[in-house]
Amino acid sequence: MTITVRPVPGAGLVMRSGDLLAVCAEAGADAVIALVRRVAAAGGDGADLVGALPADAPDCALAGPVAGGMAVAVRGAAVAEVDGWPVAGGVHGPVRTVHLRLTGAGTPDPRTSLDGGVIAGAGLVAEFAARQPIVRAPDRGAPFEAVILLPGFAAQPAPVAVVPEAGNHAMVEGVVCRNNHFNDPLLPYCQICGISMAQLTKVTRLGPRPSLGVLLLDDGSTLRLDSDYVAGREPDQHADVAAGRARPLRLAGPVSGVSRQHLRVGLVGWQVEVADLGSANGTHVQLPRAGGTRRLTPGEPFVLRPGSRVELGRRWFQYESHRNP
């Protein structure tokens, strides 16, 4: 992995050893520096680094890549941000930037870079080159099955090739704009064509609910919100998925902190709700432009606004819609 690290001026120490990154306050810096050196010398990754940091360490922030994500630890008044989001622990999925800083950190000079070693500074900004998808190499001793697809070999498929997907095609009350798009009656503008609906006499009618937007996942994929979802490591086991009332949203990953059945995303009227399914690590929601996150009460539905970010362990997704402000 290619990383560019820029130090941030200020009081403290900045350290890089290979892919392992650390910033720490002067007091107690020796122990942190020794720790990074020790883990790097042993060929450890971000998880080894973070795992070796004592809970009572002085003000410091550490980060390092792990398979499928980034391990991060912060202590005291230090701050870590991954792709612009403050984090307290690791994150799953591709990472573009990591920003570690102590209080009083300035801004990095774009001409600087740190290839390795320890220097004075109050923080660092690390940029990771775009990551390629990682395919898992199979155990080649394992049995395999193969189907020859050439015409004349494969059993010919049924004429209708497009497989219908599970969906939640409820009827909802809505209004139509002048271009005949069906909308949430509360919206001032059509969510399809953007035309103002303020002049329309808002006579609602019942119609099939259009998609309410998309869920954008931490790995960059987007999922259509025309169905309920159950998110987790093994969502297929959930009764709603088995019954076709919800789609499975598999969130796997090493040390992801995601429960087997973690969260249910439900479409209710024109709104998107999430409810924690009694997960081990809980679900946190960050509303747009609202400081801090709130932890969901298991079983209690919570209405998402467009732009809300939902965190399940180390994975996250965001609700995006035309109704974004």
């Binding site: 395919v135 080649r140 193969a146 497009v162 987007t222 259509r224 974004n324």
Partner: protein, 263 residues
Amino acid sequence: MQGIADYDFVRPLGSGNHGQFFLAKRPRRLPVDAEFVAVKVLVAESTETAFRRATRELAAFAAVASPYLVSPFDAGQQDGVFYYSMGYEPGGSLARPAEPVPVERALRAVADAARAAGALHGAGIVHRDIKPGNVLVNAAGGRLSDLGLAQVFTEGVTVTGMGDLDAIEYVDPELLVGGRPGPATDVWSLGVLLHRMVAGSGLYGELPEADGLLALRRVLSTPPRVSAALPGPVAELVRDCLGPPDRRPDAATVAGRIDAVAS
């Protein structure tokens, strides 16, 4: 990675939207006349349901007889990893051609991709993933490859993460806000592809690389703008492809109109 099932890999060929391509020796059991084949290994974990659905969709794709499609030969799974093999085109794709592709050749390749899309649509199949990386170039023109299978592995998915985030530039924004794919959304992608090949730029300016959220927001908030550098008939065709879904030309018409421009 050395291989999968009875395919021995020769070298990696690059990454696709949700997997990796390898050049492999043809296994003896495969009844095709070629020394080498291309194998795509998918990132997504294969499950029984996904394997059956993927194989069914690929078989339907393979059954569409068109010289402009790269047909899959064989699909399988080993140790929870899904793969499929297809013909190897040494010329590379419009995204990464083996040698520079002049505009006239790129136009021929896009026209052939449109013919391929037309053949798929005629069989009731939507490609879902038309973009430069999936149009392979050869001496005669081009061939459309790699049916988008993402929705088989993750139901409801419209854009897959990991890898070519430029794919978002080719997706009908209607899909990004939850619309359903159909022949018209493939025609949108053909329009963007044509624009990119002739003007050398996209409809939204340069999208932020490797940042899915920013790229998505940009596509949703920026009205597509057709470059002034496009010759009149090309600009008109691109605009028609981006028009209201029910008024877009069908893929075969797009092919014919590109032929008319190119000749």
